[in-house]
């Protein structure tokens, strides 16, 4: 028979829809509306998992996200998800699941041997052993521990599903859709406030779902909310964290209940909610009682058992015993009896209680003043041992289900994350939220107000108050559920039943009450020490069912009240969250945005290989077939040196600077002077940080008396702009200067090589490019192919060179026109690599030298420093450490071997003898020189310039290479700057 434990009727499942699923290779049936756990129970599966440390057999303990035991691997392959709580997995047809942390099988797990030796594995045992012999740690002990540890196996492939983020704003955010949450949302929604209602479950209703009598009010309220345009209800959405400034994070499981997400759909969505006011109606979670065997399959929280019967139409046991210390849990036995189960005994620790009396009246056997001291059965429950507290009398009852209730813990984790302190309620024997700090309040069971009607009333008050605080006033009245709660007797706090055997306070991590006491004996008495020493509350359930119990055991050991001992700090995540959904769309190609120049499509068509620098995609070189390694780079560099080439330099930062004080401002930014620069000319400039280190360099042109155009390095474009804004707004607010980035507005193209002028002359209109009319460092407007351009005579390559800027909309046209014009001279497009070859040959500093650790003096740029007047960095640059004679300074290096055989390595160190370990400096940039036909580089070497002409060694122990080099001037090519000026 399939689903032998399924009731013929009742519950919220859809019996018309039968779904097949697999667990450990066997196929079972369930229904739409089932969770994996309810479907497994319906099929009589009791053994579902293994615990972390002792590999003890475990069953299903709860009916919600607090589940510590029933963790499974969900789906397969790239979609495998380990540690999934069977209690919240919505069943769908074809779902594949498997048990985990067992070998070779769930029923026969070799590691269960740990349990036999458990007395030798007390809390923290590993801190006291595995120390000898020392070498065994890495080789033997640790690999063994690592294999044993962990729970499930993660997928090893990229995730095929998509995720996304959504930002939301609302007046009132309600978390939880039980009686309290629904009423709060209704009360707030009625005022016209913008309301969001989040519910982690796939059905709205919380505790209302357990009793069909509440369906009327529930349906009516949901319908009312649905009719309000400013109310948004999100089921399957868990608020995972409460952050500063009333911002909450939540995860919506959009498609987890489907085999795969629909086309164009996402698997999950991460919501960032900025709420004016928050109502936390998160309900309460039942807690366990520590007694020997409280972890065995068949032991289950009382509300969970009730939930399986009432909501899922499943009997979790045919012979059920209840063990309780409170009245609320009695609801379970009525549910079980309705479901046809026998209830041989109710064990109530209290001497008397109203619920006990009522139950006796209803024909139940109630043993008051009694407690459970043990169970029989390993893979399934067979019986329960009971002891009377007064006389120590012992008896046993056969049972296949033991329902346990130690009382309710309000779900205060979100409230506590707001920094609001928790307060102890002696009446309820639990912590409740204290005075709020952020704009929030708790309602209903979340603050210890139990009972549907009471919770709904409390939610109404909270929702009204929240709406009011957000500027909306209550308008209408609505009905609340009937008050059906009978009078109840108080709970009697019982945390642990002391008896022989393992009484667990943390089921997943196998922490026992004895472990807590051991921690205390050894001085780990602070609740945070005890947690870390015993790992109590550190498992995937974060101690939701046993956390407070552990604190209580510790408090007893310390002889102090629980409120003094406290509970460990609550932190996100309320329930664990997939990393992928928090990343959202920013994965793969979209990990970072891509910035493309105006000529990007052209480069792509021309076969450019791109380099990711910051956000930019820049052509590294253009490949021809049959080229490998350095071939294309050297081909391009040679072509430029021989005739000419053009290069996309649009990524340089460009800042338009205007205003009456523009020149003064630039004088203070740069170490050199710009106020003396004539209109129509450009000048190279260097700027420092205030600490005296070089910040950036580039050329700045004067376009008018009060108008300059700055260029920055690609890497520093944003930082320089921010730096300028700081000084213009904060340091010198009196200066009349305006500036903004024009990096995107202008496409810029370098035209370099002996034939650069000839190329330009062919295509430039309206500008005399003769050497006298348009000398080195001149700037002027012109036209190319009818497009407006600005021509700069600047050179990075060391060749006769120009840069042509044009509004980006003309970029590709001008680029093509230049290539066309240069056809006669065989000019070619070249990329970043060839540019790098030439800049190293020329000795221009770039990123590898501008590390933020070098001074202008280190880089041989101190001659630019003006003698008079303020500039940023001037004062700090005179500190002794920045002027020390032993600082490494810029030099060139050339391989003595005049071939490309023995390569120089960037990052090699300079030493005087081949085998020396005494570093004198390092190699910053290297290249194969097309001019010198050997490896050359730029290096920073102590006492650099004095060493020019000396033979030294560039050593790279990482490569096991030593290359003999000569120290030279950094200007390997054309040191007199003739080429750029002719």
């Amino acid at each position: 028979m399939t689903q032998p434990y399924r009731l013929a009727q009742g519950g919220r499942i859809d019996r018309n829809q039968t779904l097949s699923f697999q667990f450990d290779g066997r196929t079972y049936q369930g229904h739409r509306g089932d969770t994996l756990a309810s479907a497994l129970l319906a099929n009589g599966v009791r053994l579902v998992g293994r615990s972390f440390k002792y590999h003890r057999p475990r069953g299903i303990f709860t009916a919600g996200p607090e589940e510590p035991n029933a963790l499974v691997e969900l789906r397969t392959g790239a979609r495998r998800e380990p540690n999934s709580r069977a209690t919240v997995v919505e069943l769908f047809d074809g779902l594949e699941t498997a048990s985990q942390n067992r070998w070779p099988s769930l029923a026969f797990d070799l590691s269960a041997i740990n349990g036999l030796f458990s007395r030798f594995l007390p809390a923290g045992f590993y801190y006291k052993t595995f120390m000898w012999p020392p070498a065994f740690w890495e080789k033997v002990y640790e690999p063994m521990i690592r294999r044993m540890a962990g729970l499930g196996h993660a997928a090893r492939e990229p995730d095929p599903d998509a995720y996304e983020h959504t930002h939301a704003h609302c007046d009132v955010l309600v978390v939880g859709s039980g009686a309290a949450g629904l009423a709060a949302a209704r009360a707030a929604g009625d005022t016209g406030a913008r309301v969001m209602l989040l519910e982690q479950d796939f059905e709205i209703g919380g505790g209302l779902l357990l009793d069909p009598r509440h369906d009327g009010w529930r349906n009516e309220t949901i319908a009312a909310l649905a009719a309000m345009p400013e109310v948004r209800i999100l089921p399957r959405t868990t608020a995972f964290g409460y952050y500063d400034h009333n911002v909450l994070g939540a995860i919506e499981r959009v498609s987890d209940h489907l085999p795969v997400p629909p086309a164009h759909g996402v698997r999950q969505r991460y919501w960032v909610v900025r709420a004016r006011q928050v109502v936390l109606a998160t309900g309460a979670i039942e807690r366990l009682i520590a007694f020997p065997g409280n972890d065995r399959p068949g032991v289950m929280l009382a509300t969970a058992a009730e939930t399986y019967v009432r909501r899922y139409g499943v009997v979790p046991g045919r012979n059920a015993v209840l063990f309780t210390n409170n009245d609320a849990a009695y609801a379970t036995v009525y549910a079980l009896r309705d479901a046809g189960s026998a209830v041989p005994a109710i064990i109530d620790v209290r001497a008397t209680s109203l619920a006990a009396d009522a139950a006796r009246g209803a024909g139940f056997t109630v043993w008051t003043g009694a407690e459970v001291i043990g169970v029989t059965g390993t893979h399934a429950l067979r019986g329960v041992q009971v002891r009377w507290r007064q006389d120590g009398r012992i008896t046993s009852v056969p049972a296949d289900l033991l329902c346990v209730s130690g009382g309710l813990n309000p779900s205060v984790n979100l409230a506590s994350m707001t920094r609001a302190p928790l307060t102890w309620s002696a009446d309820l024997a639990t912590f409740v939220p204290g005075t709020p700090i952020q704009a929030e309040r708790s309602a209903g069971a979340a603050r210890g107000v139990y009972g549907i009607a009471k919770a709904a009333r409390d939610g109404t008050t909270a929702g009204t108050a929240a709406a009011q605080a957000s500027g909306h006033s209550r308008s209408a009245e609505f009905t609340l559920p009937d008050d059906d709660a009978a009078a109840i007797s108080p709970i009697q706090a019982v945390w642990e039943v002391k008896a022989k055997g393992k009484s667990f306070v943390d089921l997943q991590n196998d922490t026992t009450a004895d472990d807590m006491r051991l921690a205390h004996r050894e001085g780990y008495s602070h609740v945070e020490h005890a947690k870390r020493y015993t790992t109590h509350g550190m498992a995937t359930d974060q101690g939701k069912t046993g956390g407070l119990v552990g604190s209580a055991v510790l408090a007893q050991a310390r002889g102090e009240p629980i409120e003094t001992v406290g509970v460990p700090t609550f932190r996100p995540y309320v329930t664990p969250v997939a990393i992928g959904v928090l990343a959202g769309r920013e994965v793969g190609q979209h990990y970072k945005s891509k910035r493309r120049t105006a000529m990007h499509d052209w480069h792509e068509r021309a076969g450019a290989v791109f380099l990711e620098t910051g956000l930019w995609l820049r052509p590294l070189y253009y490949t021809k077939t049959n080229e490998t390694g350095w071939d294309p780079i050297l081909r391009e560099a040679r072509a430029v040196r021989r005739s000419g080439g053009i290069c996309d330099v649009s990524t340089l930062g460009k800042i338009d600077v205007q205003g009456r004080d523009a020149a003064t401002f630039l004088d203070r930014l740069y170490i050199n002077t710009f106020s003396t620069l004539p209109v129509g000319r450009a000048r190279y400039g260097v700027m420092l940080r205030e600490d005296g280190m070089v910040f950036d360099d580039g050329t700045t042109s004067r376009l008018g008396e009060h108008h300059f155009l700055m260029t920055t390095t690609t890497a520093n474009a944003a930082a320089v702009l921010e730096h300028m804004e700081y000084h213009a707004q904060v340091t010198w607010p009196g200066l009349d200067v305006q500036f903004c980035s024009v990096s995107d507005q202008w496409a810029q193209i370098a035209v370099a090589g002996p034939n650069a002028r000839k190329t330009l002359v062919t295509c430039v209109e309206g500008l005399d490019l003769g050497n006298e009319a348009f000398p080195f460092m001149a700037v002027a407007d012109a036209r190319i192919a009818g497009c407006p351009v600005r021509v700069f005579r600047v050179s990075y390559s060391g060749e006769l060179a120009y840069e042509v800027a044009t509004p980006a909309g003309y970029g590709e046209r001008v680029w093509s026109a230049l290539l066309e014009a240069g056809k006669a001279f065989d000019i070619i497009p070249y990329g970043l690599e060839a540019m790098g070859v030439m800049r190293v040959e020329k000795g221009h500093v770039a990123g590898p030298e501008l590390t933020g650790q070098t001074t202008a003096r280190d880089l041989g740029l101190e001659r630019l420093m003006k003698k008079k007047g303020d500039f940023i960095g001037r004062v700090n640059a005179t500190r002794p450490g920045l002027l020390a004679a032993d600082r490494a300074t810029l030099v060139g290096i050339q391989a003595v071997d005049a071939s490309f055989e023995r390569r120089l390595r960037g990052g090699a160190h300079i030493v005087t003898r081949r085998e020396s370990k005494q570093s004198l400096g390092w190699v910053a940039s290297v290249t194969r020189s097309v001019d010198l036909e050997r490896w050359i580089g730029l290096a920073l070497v102590r006492g650099g310039p004095e060493r020019i002409g000396q033979r030294m060694f560039a050593t790279s122990p990482l490569h096991n290479e030593v290359v003999e080099v000569e120290i030279t001037s950094p200007h390997h090519v054309d040191p007199e700057n003739r080429r750029v000026r002719t």
Binding site: S593, D601, G659, L735, D736, S741, D744, G786, C787, A808
Partner: protein, 198 residues
């Protein structure tokens, strides 16, 4: 010789068509071309600048968070003493020339026509699409036609302006990031279905 027509970096990547999920209210995406200039007031010239812009364009320079339109021209606040002026149907040179002529030394004028791309997103789900990357509140109670904001969307610096109550939004983003931005919009709109229109 006349100046050739500039080429948008986006046009090749915004071919018209219907994409994503089926649905009867697709999101509409299109590129818009307008001349754009940035106007930055010089120190102590606020009154002169306002008068100049009013005189030449009939626009009263707007307050933070808003924009004003008059005929084919529009002014939008983007920073203290700083506005974008947008104009339909005129080459960018003309706009900067007109502005310079009008403002004299009351302002620094910078052409941004090709530094920016304008993308229009409209349709009933436009806000839902934008909320996937935009951190500010676009709810009608807070935002609305004529409102504008400078805010990053999907990590890209954007100027966002509500055009009408459809709702339709114009998003002004750096041209070098426009293609990336459109890719993000496409992914975000696919769930509802979207149409790229000319």
């Amino acid at each position: 010789m006349s100046v050739p027509e500039p080429i948008s970096q986006l046009s090749a990547h915004m071919q018209p068509g219907r994409f994503g999920a089926d649905g009867n209210t697709p999101v509409l995406l299109s590129e818009r071309r307008r001349a754009i200039a940035q106007v930055m007031g010089r120190k102590g010239q606020d009154a002169r600048l306002r008068a100049a812009i009013h005189g030449a364009f009939g626009l009263d320079l707007p307050h933070p968070g808003s924009s004003v339109t008059r005929d084919s021209a529009m002014a939008m606040w983007i920073a203290p003493e700083t506005w974008l002026i947008l104009r339909d149907g005129s080459p960018s040179d003309d706009l900067t020339r007109d502005l310079t002529a009008a403002c004299g030394d009351a302002a620094s004028i910078v052409d941004q026509t090709w530094g920016k791309s304008i993308i229009r997103v409209s349709g009933a789900r436009a806000c839902a699409v934008l909320a996937k990357g935009c951190r500010i509140d676009l709810h009608p109670r807070v935002f609305g036609p004529g409102k504008s904001a400078v805010t990053p969307i999907a990590h890209i610096h954007a100027v966002l302006m509500q055009v009408d109550a459809t709702p339709a939004f114009d998003l002004i983003v750096p041209s070098t990031l426009a293609r990336d931005f459109v890719e993000w919009l496409r992914l975000s709109a696919a769930e509802y279905g979207y149409e790229v229109v000319a």
